[in-house]
């Protein structure tokens, strides 16, 4: 696994890069791989420039005192909303497959999953 990009800022030491960009083209290619995107070489240059400007702006968050503040992942505080565990009718197979770009009988068709080139 190499999900981390070359530099690793922490919360105490935010992503400040006094010299040079916050995100370079290698990092853009790395992020594109993680996001399963396939940008062209020109797009990589373009995205690197734009993402750098956006991250530069976002870096103003590093100036906020968040000591002791709980993260707020959701707008309303709700946890564990359950329903009765009773069977309900679901989508039937034909309806579920109706929009598949390629199918094989009652299955979604994909290229070979195991072997060369599968996984990442």
């Amino acid at each position: 696994m190499s999900d981390s990009a070359p530099t690793n800022p922490t919360e105490d030491q935010p992503a400040g890069h006094p010299a040079g960009p916050r995100i370079n083209e290698d990092q853009v290619r790395h992020v594109a791989r993680l996001a399963r995107l396939h940008p062209s070489a020109a797009q990589v240059t373009h995205f690197a420039h734009q993402l750098d400007a956006i991250l530069d702006y976002v870096d103003k968050l590093s100036g906020v005192d968040v000591q002791g503040v709980e993260p707020m992942p959701h707008a309303i505080d709700q946890v564990n909303i359950w329903r009765d565990d009773t069977p309900q009718p679901g989508l039937d197979v034909e309806a579920a497959l109706d929009n598949a770009p390629q199918r094989d009988g009652v299955f979604f068709a994909t290229p070979k999953v195991l072997g060369d080139g599968g996984g990442a």
Binding site: S4, V31, A32, E70
Partner: protein, 495 residues
């Protein structure tokens, strides 16, 4: 049977239908004719479902019109699943997608008798503030075709602003209902997070997305809301909070109220003078109605945009992972490697802004950056919410601009994503805090000899929509800007 549909209100059409002056079929026919005439000039609709709408209208007439919206034509945003026609999110990725089910909000409108006539254009996957990020062409502002209608629900705002339909649904993640409503001169209402089910709304940022109506009047916004509000077992984040029985009683006196004026929302020199004048007039209207004006402090306002673009893109990168070229949507042909199939299908199917946001979201969630960006943004989000909690101890609603200025020209900001993001400066804080907010027509800026609408925004306490809409009605009654209409004469449209 000749009831005028141009610039009609929901309440007006409902009255005409109940009085037997027209039929659902006649109204639907007239609405489709008006859309056919105007849509080529504005691109408000991505798809019109005329045959299905007429069949439905005839069925309603035959069954006897019942239900609070029986026979009223409406439009829905292209990101709301609907069994008729396609649901494309204005993206090449979903160009041919036909949903096997209908979104709860739309289903509730239909159960109340509304007739869906079409899907309105939007920024692809609701990412944008101008309706220029649409895979099938830009949408234009009804007041000036060289300008944007705002976004992302720009098609819905344009359809109502140009008087093609009396009501349309939009979705608001960081301002996507309120900002286009302000720029097109309509009412745009984002209820409290959780008030309206998100089931069947194609997800952008799940902790922020909220459906709401575009209408010509506050009363109509309340009418549609009363039909859509309420818990839905299919959306576990929908709120189990009682809906006020008198939500639609917008004429009622809101009582003695205190209106908050956030000092941070009057950024020196940031606003067009017409926007400051609109807020000033609204203040005077509230004072004349007996309200007390109180300055409030929202000290974390300046961090709203930065917080939003971390949280929303992080959630988007996760939500949009489902588009894989396998289950539905665009698939690159002739690829025999699975990861390559994912990557190529996604890069061909998604437009540039969507890819940019997926990359930003992936970056802020990646190991080593999660704490510095995502987790920190979630903490600042709580501080923003805390600002509002404190303010609402002293006031009942907050008055501020919806945008810094009127509609900008098509193409003016397309090369600078950050400049585009800053459009949302006044709308994003209520989204992050999950609060209800409504934008109302506030007056006009005079640009190149043309009037361009500007909006004023009211933000309320969570689940306090009944009072918020009554306060909105106080402003509407005081000025009636909504009665001014854009010039849609043939000569103007030809120019």
């Amino acid at each position: 049977m000749s009831v005028e549909v141009a610039f009609a209100t929901v309440a007006g059409l409902r009255g005409a239908l109940r009085a037997g002056e027209t039929s659902a079929e006649a109204l639907t026919q007239a609405t489709l004719a008006r859309i056919a005439e105007l849509n080529p000039h504005f691109g408000a609709f991505r798809e019109v479902i005329g045959d299905q709408a007429l069949a439905r209208a005839r069925g309603l007439d035959a069954a006897g019109l019942s239900g609070p919206l029986a026979g009223v034509p409406v439009a829905i945003k292209d990101c709301m699943c609907h069994v008729d026609g396609t649901t494309a999110c204005s993206s090449k990725m979903l160009e041919a997608y036909r949903s096997p089910f209908t979104a709860t909000a739309v289903e509730r409108l239909e159960a109340a008798g509304a007739v869906v006539v079409g899907k309105t254009a939007m920024d692809e996957f609701a990412m944008g503030s101008s309706c220029e990020n649409c895979a099938f062409g830009v949408t234009r502002n009804p007041w000036d075709r060289t300008r944007v209608p705002g976004g992302s629900s720009g098609g819905s705002a344009c359809a109502v602003g140009a008087g093609m339909v009396s009501a349309a649904l939009g979705s608001d993640t960081g301002g996507s209902i309120r900002q286009p409503a302000a720029l097109c001169g309509t009412v745009g209402f984002k209820p409290t997070y959780g008030r309206i089910s998100r089931w069947g709304l194609v997800a952008f940022a799940s902790s922020l997305d909220q459906i709401g109506p575009f209408t010509r009047t506050v009363e109509d916004a309340a009418l549609l809301s009363s039909v859509m509000f309420g818990k839905d077992p299919l959306d576990s984040t929908s709120a189990d909070v009682a809906v006020d029985d008198d939500l639609t009683q917008v004429e009622r006196d809101p009582g003695v109220v205190r209106i908050g004026l956030p000092k941070q929302y009057r950024l020196a020199g940031a606003n067009d003078p017409a926007v400051d004048a609109a807020v000033e007039r609204a203040q005077q209207a509230f004072e004349a109605a007996g309200a007390e004006l109180v300055e409030v402090d929202l000290p974390h306002t300046e961090y709203g945009i930065a917080t939003y673009y971390v949280v929303a893109t992080a959630e988007a990168s996760s939500n949009l992972a489902r588009f894989d070229g396998v289950h539905y949507g665009h698939r690159t042909p002739g690829v025999d490697d699975l990861v390559e199939l994912y990557s190529k299908s996604r890069s061909e199917g998604f437009g540039e802004e969507v890819q940019r946001r997926i990359m930003l979201g992936t970056y802020v969630l990646s190991a080593g950056y999660y704490d510095a960006y995502y987790n920190r943004a979630l903490k600042v989000r709580r501080l923003i919410r805390g600002d509002f909690d404190t303010a609402f101890e002293a006031v009942d609603a907050i008055l501020c601009p919806t945008t810094t200025g009127p509609a900008f020209e098509i193409g003016a900001k397309t090369d600078d994503p950050l400049a585009m993001y800053l459009n949302d400066v006044y709308t994003v804080p209520a989204s992050l805090a999950g609060l209800p907010a409504v934008s109302l027509p506030g007056g006009f800026a005079e640009v190149d000899g043309k009037p361009l609408p500007v909006g004023v925004q009211l933000i309320g306490r969570a689940f306090d929509e009944a009072r918020l809409l009554r306060l909105a009605r106080v402003l509407e009654r005081s000025a009636e800007h909504h009665k001014t209409r854009p010039d849609l004469t043939a000569a103007t449209l030809a120019g």
